[in-house]
């Protein structure tokens, strides 16, 4: 930017900055709403107009993670003072924490759903990206009969909306006993993501000059070593971008998780809305669940941001 700016240029700059700010606020507003609701006392969650200023409290997260039930009668003052601070928060909300016979607190359904989501999304992402990278490398570097047809076939698996096959998949899974298992969902999500992963990675690997590997081959490395030492590091950007996309898809998937899982392998997406219907909806708890659910994708994307900045240009790496 030139050191000297005319007044009109400066004004234009201001307009640009203000527009960006407005757009940012519009985009961030729903996220703020979710985050703020997850720290609100229950009675403020549904006020019209929304309460913006309030004293944040942690009770929605306590309620989210622990089993609780409606209070039939108020706790005695002794009970109240004997309770730890987080239990008092729940009492204040007109509920009590369910304890076992020995007085231990029990986890609600949410933590295990969250862990399921993590296991399934991470495993299927690793599988889809690893298989996709190797497949893409093969397509990129070797000639094979019907190469274009194979690639088209791989792409065609994405042309059908996945939900269309949900019922047949459900029936097949029932026969082989994969319903409500981690393995079942991992296989499904890996399969969804694989075609995408192959195509995206092929673009990235095509961009890596094959001279790099050939130099390594001549230098005394095997094809495998050349792949791991030369191609993979060069493809890191592409792998990061592909992994983020695959992770987001697997993490957010709702329809199959709803149909295929009930308890053991249920992921967070079908679980969170199911809580709306149990008794009166406690929106603060739902917001807290949603907020925690947002975090992994945000963290994952943030960690890979350096790779993504280059990777999002879809293979346009610098030669």
């Amino acid at each position: 930017m030139a050191a000297v700016q005319t007044t009109s240029e400066r004004a234009l700059n201001k307009v640009a900055i203000i527009s960006v700010l407005i757009v940012t606020i519009i985009f961030l507003a729903p996220i703020y709403w979710i985050v703020s609701t997850s720290f609100k006392p229950r009675h403020l969650a549904t006020t019209v107009p929304p309460t913006i200023v309030f004293e944040p409290e942690i009770s929605p997260f306590v309620k989210l993670t622990l089993r609780r039930s409606q209070l039939r009668e108020q706790p005695t003052p002794e009970e109240y003072t004997a309770a730890p601070w987080w239990e008092r928060l729940v009492f204040d909300g007109g509920e009590k924490i369910v304890r076992s016979g020995r007085g231990e607190v029990q986890l609600s359904g949410y933590p295990s759903r969250f862990v399921n989501s993590l296991i399934i999304a991470i495993t299927s992402t690793i599988l889809a990206v690893a298989m996709g990278t190797i497949t893409a490398y093969g397509f990129s570097r070797f000639k094979m009969p019907g190469e274009q047809d194979w690639l088209f076939f791989i792409l065609s698996t994405r042309m059908l909306p996945p939900v269309v096959v949900a019922i047949p998949m459900f029936l097949m899974y029932r026969v082989v006993g994969l319903n409500d298992t981690h393995v079942g969902l991992i296989i499904l999500y890996t399969a969804f993501n694989l075609s995408f992963s192959v195509w995206l990675m092929k673009g990235f690997i095509d961009e890596i000059p094959k001279e790099y590997e050939e130099a390594a081959l001549v230098d005394g490395y095997t094809r495998m070593e050349a792949f791991f030492k030369v191609v993979l590091p060069e493809a890191a950007t592409g792998i990061a971008a592909t992994a983020v996309f695959c992770f987001i898809t697997a993490w957010n998937e709702y329809a199959f998780a709803l149909i295929m899982t009930r308890r053991d392998a249920q992921t967070a997406p079908p679980f969170i809305p199911s809580q709306v219907g149990s008794g009166l909806p406690d929106w603060t708890v739902i917001a807290a669940g949603t907020f925690l659910f947002l975090l992994p994708v945000a963290i994952f994307t943030f960690l890979l941001r350096n790779h993504l900045l280059r990777g999002m240009s879809f293979g346009a790496i610098r030669k």
């Binding site: 000059p209 130099a215 081959l217 001549v218 005394g220 490395y221 095997t222």
Partner: protein
């Protein structure tokens, strides 16, 4: 160190033939230059020798051994490419170490260190060792590429147009250095280029490739002075050799309407359709010389002037001393000594001067 022999090599890619029945012998320690246009099969030849491709037919011998079943690593050759042989993630040192760190080589870290330093010294890139490759200039990159090849002390160096991406000054400098390196290492060099100046100035021997066939092999002088056909005559020398259609009749050579005396064995060629070749430096401007021409273009190179003259429809190049006074559009007369011409059969293009 090792010689290379190719016997009856053919290579077909899909439907296209890149090489046809190639026979080539490169002696141990020779600086051999393969000269040819894009698509002549130069790079294919290199890749076959390097073991990156397998020939469709024929055998390759390195140091007398048939290497058909040897992979690239086992052949112990080094490849220098026009570009892309350096890893952008690594430093210069990392790049130089890379070939030595292969399991096949199994060098100790002291040995790696020693070799990297030695190569860096030879190529004067010691200062650059810790620099990132992306920060290097084109010439420095090419030096590092060569360094990557020499650290391994391979038996054969294969170079695929290593200088063509560089600017003219650097190219000249590196040309000299490569020659020097060759003398020092006493290794076999196979250098591929489309630039005839590079071929002439560097090669102990030149092989001229045309559409997958080896046309002529010889020392630069042989190839220059005695090209085996019109293709080689055109390919080597700058400006290129002048070639005229001619016919011999009664001891006189008729080039268009111009008649010039034929050389010694002229009468034997009576009635044959020929192509006459005259090197530009053998053309002399002289008043009263047999051919009249209009000066079309003058390039002053300092030492010499290169004239382009128009004779009828044809353009004729002449290299004349710089002090020669000519002006554009001036009419000049020129001629040449009959013994300095080359005669080619017009149909086949074969050199028949020596017959």
């Amino acid at each position: 160190m090792a010689g290379i022999s190719l016997r009856g090599i053919s290579k077909t890619y899909g439907g296209t033939r890149a090489l046809r029945g190639l026979d080539l012998d490169i002696e141990d320690g020779e600086f051999f230059v393969l000269l040819g246009q894009t698509g002549a099969g130069k790079t294919t030849t290199l890749r076959l020798i390097a073991g990156l491709e397998k020939p469709t037919e024929g055998e390759i011998y390195i140091d007398g051994q048939n290497v058909a079943d040897w992979n690239a690593a086992e052949r112990d050759v080094a490849l220098v490419l026009q570009q892309y042989s350096l890893y952008p993630r690594l430093s210069v040192r990392g790049n130089l170490e890379f070939p030595l760190k292969s399991k096949v080589r199994n060098f100790s870290s002291d040995e790696i260190e020693r070799r990297v330093n030695k190569a860096a010294e030879t190529l004067q890139i010691t200062k650059l060792l810790d620099r990132k490759v992306e920060r290097l200039s084109g010439g420095e990159m090419q030096r590092v590429s060569i360094g990557r090849a020499i650290v391994r002390e391979p038996r054969v160096f294969l170079m695929d147009e290593p200088l063509s991406a560089l600017d003219a000054k650097l190219r000249e400098a590196l040309r000299v250095e490569l020659k020097k390196l060759h003398t020092e290492l006493k290794a076999t060099f196979l250098f591929v280029t489309h630039d005839q100046v590079e071929a002439m100035s560097m090669g102990d021997k030149i092989g001229v490739l045309n559409r997958g066939k080896l046309v002529q092999v010889g020392t630069p002088a042989e190839v220059y002075h005695n090209p085996c056909n019109t293709f080689v005559a055109r390919a080597v020398g700058s400006p290129p050799m002048n070639l005229f259609d001619a016919r011999v009749a009664g001891g006189q050579m008729e080039i268009g309407s111009v008649k010039v005396p034929v050389g010694a064995n002229g009468t034997a060629l009576d009635g044959r359709d020929l192509t006459v070749g005259v090197r530009p430096e053998n053309i002399r401007l002289e008043n009263g010389a047999p051919v009249s021409a209009r000066v079309f273009d003058i390039e002053d190179h300092g030492v010499v002037k290169i004239l382009t003259m128009q004779v009828g429809e044809d353009k004729v190049h002449a290299t004349v001393p710089a002090k020669t006074v000519v002006r554009l559009d001036e009419t000049v007369q020129f001629g040449w000594q009959p013994e300095k011409t080359l005669l080619f059969d017009r149909q086949s293009g074969t050199n028949i001067s020596t017959q």
